[in-house]
Amino acid sequence: MIQVENLHKKFGKNVVLAELELHIDQGGIFAVLGPNGSGKTTLIKTVLGMVLPNKGTISVMDSSVRDKWKYRQDINYLPQIANFPGNLKVKELIAMIKDIRQKPSDELKLIGLFGLESFLDKKLSNLSGGTKQKVNIVLAFMFNSPLIILDEPTNGLDPLALIRLKELIFEEKAKGKTFLITSHIMQFVEEVSDQIVYLLEGKIYFKGSIEELKTKTGQSNFEHAIAAISTHNNHD
């Protein structure tokens, strides 16, 4: 699904990704974790073509992403900060993204799922942070794409919406979709993810299942295992 080879990226003098190798197979939920500033968002953005690598190649579904844009037709992306043009209404924003992508979509089901019916005629600037995030989720899930990338999807969601989001993720996974998810909520990661990709200092420090991580660190609790893996490195 995604092949990343020898990826280098630096911003000024700050090396964010160094010789990063990552292979992600089709199907399943991959959680990209790591301490703040470890390059999670940068990695996701290079896959999306928003950040241009200094060195290395990335291919999504067997085609290189460099200077290309059509491959993004197969990717749904949920950005970290949900901020939209304030003067547009919710339904206008949805119509606009549909208009741009020209792909069949099932936004009605998602609008019902997150209870957004009464907000459709409201301007985006008048929505609360949580409601904006729900709109963000509708935009990210309304198209049928094989790869779905979620950057902090739980931000600002109420418990009911969070349950709906998890259901939605499992439903799409059952259809054979591939997910890349970043999150700081370890409970959420533990519940949804099949594989953990742990980034540290611009490299993949660990890739495997939650069980493998627990065995490797000798911790029985996932949250402690994640904490252990980052401190473990400091003693090396």
């Binding site: 928003m50 993004r72 003067n87 993204i97």
Partner: protein
Amino acid sequence: MPLRLYQPTTIMIKILKYSFYDLMRSRWSYVYFLFYLLLGFVLLFLNNELSKAVITLMNVIIVLVPLIGIIFGVMYYYNSKEFTELLLAQPIKRSSIFLGQYFGVAGSLTVSLVLGLGIPFILYGLFQSNAIWDFSLLLITGAFLTLIFTAVAFNIALANENKIKGFGYAVLAWLFLAVIYDGLFLMSLIVFEDYPLDNLSLIATMFNPIDLSRTLILLKLDISALLGYTGAIFKQFFGTNLGLFMSIFMLFLWTIIPIWRLGYVSKRKDF
């Protein structure tokens, strides 16, 4: 497959349309529109004569349009940053996004300018007056200045992640072209007064879109006699078809180069 080739352009037009609608509903577009509407009525009321009002209007437009264009452009770019990121993740070419947004901003500013000034002048009987050509030239120059300074604004904002710096450079760029440039120009004329400076001043005028617009309008209004010897030289050049062609060509260059650079830089930037 000829249809596919046009796809980036149609998407650019879609983004333009949405940016335009978005701005047309924002308070600032109305403030800008109402300001020109008011200015038009007040000037006509005070001057009581169309051609005199056109001259006063020129002095306002030449300074104000670039300022609004550059500030509004920078503001729009920074305000729509997250939205731009959403678009960047869509299957769209980068240049379509930025050019679409740019033409949306520049277009809505131009509409505010043309309608805001057009309505009072038309009500006052512009079509029966012979000032119509001067007035049209004024609006065309205003549109050019909007296009130029909005493009400069987008270039500045693209190069500066920091909003405060971006706004600072934008104001400096405006200050330089609207005020400081003329000061330096005049000083150089005084310092080098013993040398023939006709060509130098012609060229210096060409390199500043604000000066270029001012000269173009002043000469069209035929008050170049007020400018003395320099005016005569300018009239000799700008008054001819070649001069008119050259200055419009320069305004085009001033518009196209920053727009082209916008596409070029956006392709190589990390978001």
